[in-house]
């Protein structure tokens, strides 16, 4: 790994200006902290966190709707654990669970299906959150529910997709980024092609990168090589897992059940075609079609900078709430809630102690 750090230093000398790289995915943000990578890099490489934490980008309105569904008599509301603490307008799913709503943490949508099979009197709803890494398994679970005639299994989909979000960031013009570290696990499903526009239309280098320390250093090195030689390509560092075409079967099943819709991203706003909704022929699985939950217009907490953090415009410590009014114990914004949110990562791991630089 020392060799890579040396190459990175050499490349930076030849580039001879500060470089700003965005790690799109929260898993990368945390991995960069956990491996202590920031203090291995020269100071003029700035790493920015992007919008790639599904917990962080779930809108206040979607959380309020989830809370509304969980409060209906006879509903078992199932969710991935991360979503439990995310604050809606006033409450979180944790709060309403304590108040008596039947909210359960599951590790996979199949667990939710099993709950539905075991208790047919209940309407079991799965809170379908996450990017392309989770949506195929939700699609697969609906397929199973259809096959096994489990009529009391529903989903509430707030699934999102990564490429439209990056396009929106690039279109906004607010974000100054020289290159992107793209999430390896999303590309195990979608491959590299959906990112081609980043190079062809926007001239931005990107590298699909794995998650251990060596992967991340390699990804950064490959980005710097592109920048140094003035190229812009979509490269795959995580090639032991990611194929250019991704996993066509997983993409097919995702496309069979879901179609794109406009989606609201917390702090960012509506991004065209960045959400996934169930296709019309599976309406009977869509809890929004079973119950009409009317949630009043929700605003995001005042003074919270999650939006700018998610866009890479600010770093967490720029926010006036950070570490004071907003901590992992009492989060205001979603970036502080998720263990993979950038604010939570900055709070937990802190800045690298200067004495070891």
């Amino acid at each position: 790994m020392g060799d890579k750090v040396k190459t990175i230093n050499d490349l930076m000398r030849s580039i001879n200006r500060p470089v700003r790289l965005m790690e799109v995915c929260g898993t990368h943000t945390v991995a960069i902290f956990r491996h202590g990578i920031r203090n291995l890099l020269p100071e003029d490489i700035k790493l920015l966190s992007g919008p790639g934490c599904p917990v962080c980008v779930t809108s206040v309105k979607d959380i309020e709707t989830a809370i509304g569904i969980a409060g209906i008599d006879g509903v078992v509301f199932t969710t991935f654990g991360d979503m439990m603490r995310v604050p809606g307008d006033k409450k979180s799913l944790f709060n309403v669970k304590a108040e008596g709503c039947d909210v359960r943490v599951v590790y996979s949508p199949l667990d939710a299906l099993q709950i539905a099979e075991q208790d047919k009197r209940k309407k079991v709803v799965f809170f379908a959150t996450g990017f392309e890494t989770t949506s195929p398994s939700v699609a697969g679970t609906i397929m199973e529910a259809e096959k096994r005639d489990v009529d009391n299994f529903f989903i509430y989909s707030v699934h999102k997709t990564v490429p439209p979000a990056i396009k929106a960031l690039l279109d906004s013009g607010e974000v100054r980024v020289d290159g992107f570290i793209l999430p390896g696990h999303v590309s195990t499903i979608i491959g590299s092609k959906p990112y081609d526009f980043m190079a062809s239309k926007y001239g931005k280098p990107s590298v699909i990168t794995g998650f251990d320390a060596d992967d991340i250093l390699s990804g950064i090195m490959m980005l710097l090589e592109q920048i140094a030689s003035g190229k812009a390509e979509v490269e795959i560092q995580y090639s032991r897992v990611v194929k250019k075409e991704g996993n066509p079967r997983a993409v097919d099943i995702m496309n069979e059940y879901f179609e794109p819709e406009d989606a609201e991203w917390r702090g960012i706003g509506t991004i065209p075609g960045s959400g996934l909704k169930l296709k019309d022929k599976f309406n009977h699985r869509d809890i929004k079609d079973i119950f009409r939950i009317n949630v009043p217009e929700c605003s995001e907490p005042k003074a919270c900078s999650c939006g700018d953090v998610l866009k890479g415009v600010k770093i967490p410590t720029d926010c006036i709430l950070f570490g004071k009014a907003c901590t992992p114990e009492k989060p205001v914004g979603a970036c502080m809630v998720s263990s993979e949110g950038s604010c939570a990562a900055y709070y937990k791991y802190g800045p690298a102690p200067d004495i070891f630089k």
Binding site: G36, L40, V55, F80, D82, D111, G130, T134, F211
Partner: protein, 332 residues
């Protein structure tokens, strides 16, 4: 199958039969009085601790709630420098609980307490309505004696002290989490639940310079070290490379987005010892079955005060803080 009924907890004939058939053979209850009477046990200071056990599932790979309820309390006494002598055990059992499960749990408590020479001298049983408990909850309290001259406290920690960790981390928490969620490992991953009193006795005999010991249970090694850094005022510098993590634990943590440093353990301890005795103590520990994987994982330095720093495998340095809330598995 025989099941626990409400009347098993009502104080009448059925309760007495339950005590006679199940609890008395497992414990050292002597006379059925309202309290156990202990003769003057030893010179030194008395250490007392209590802990409640609510683990679900109550049978898990490598142990059960009974074994855990004895080991947990024995270990809390041990790492305070006390030799454990007596335990009490209180049971809250849900109506409908299978009696053969109770028998198995009591059997584990009997076996381990006999093995380590600790007596369970008082007990209590309550039965709650079906749906009001999660099968079985156990509270144990323990009493031990700290011999003269033994002083285990974070205020003894000094720069230069070495930190010895007695085994690999995360086995208990991950084995439970896996069992709850139907994940299996090949080879099977077992909880590390085990009594540490004999190990500690041997350690205390080996050197007088153990400054503090802790068993990193809930919150894991990270939280334990941060507590000691806070209480002692110094910085604890640890090296990721030296901290043993079973490949199954590492794999599961990668999958679920967890950090093994924060996962619960039930059969390891961290000991802070002066540098000159560290190697000798490590050798003695490694010769035992409880601490075959022991290793020196770091040392105490002056600054930055009240901080734990980790040197990562990649060569970077990061701050290790306390766990906030629960570690929740991530979505992707």
């Amino acid at each position: 199958m025989d099941l626990i009924q409400m009347s098993h907890g009502s104080g009448g004939r059925m309760m007495h039969q339950l005590i006679k058939d199940y609890f008395a053979p497992a414990f050292d209850l002597r006379a059925f009085n309202d309290s156990a009477v202990i003769e003057n046990i030893s010179e030194g200071k008395i250490a007392v601790t209590t802990d409640s056990y609510v683990v679900s599932p109550y049978f898990f790979p490598g142990g059960d709630i009974g074994l855990l309820s004895v080991c947990g309390t024995v270990n809390d006494l041990s790492v305070s420098g006390a030799k454990p002598f007596y335990l009490t055990a209180g049971f809250i059992i849900e109506e409908g609980f299978p009696l053969d499960h109770l028998k198995k749990i009591l059997g584990s408590m009997k076996a381990v307490s006999e093995e380590i020479g600790v007596k369970i001298i008082a007990g209590d049983t309550k039965v709650v309505d079906r749906g009001k408990g999660d099968g079985i909850f156990i509270n144990t309290a323990g009493l031990g004696v700290i011999q003269k001259g033994i002083n285990i406290s974070p205020s003894n920690v000094r720069p230069g002290d070495r930190i010895i960790l007695s085994g690999t981390i995360g086995n208990h928490g991950i084995s439970i989490m896996a069992q709850r969620n139907g994940i299996s490992f090949e080879p099977a991953l077992l909880s590390d639940v085990r009594p540490l009193n004999r190990l500690v006795e041997l350690m205390i005999k080996t050197t007088k310079n153990i400054h503090v010991m802790r068993d990193p249970t809930r919150g894991g090694v990270a939280t334990t070290l941060k507590e000691i850094a806070n209480d002692s005022g110094y910085c604890i510098m640890i090296d990721e490379e030296t901290i043993g993590v079973n490949p199954a634990v590492k794999g599961a943590c990668d999958l679920l987005g967890l950090d093994p440093l924060y996962i619960a353990n039930e059969g390891i301890l961290a000991a802070f010892v002066s540098a000159e005795d560290a190697d000798k103590l490590l050798d003695v520990m490694k010769s035992t079955k409880e601490a075959g994987d022991a290793a020196i994982i770091g040392e105490v330095v002056e600054t930055p005060a009240q901080t734990v720093l980790l040197k990562t495998n990649a060569g970077g340095i990061r701050i290790v803080d306390m766990l906030s809330g629960d570690q929740l598995p991530r979505i992707c």
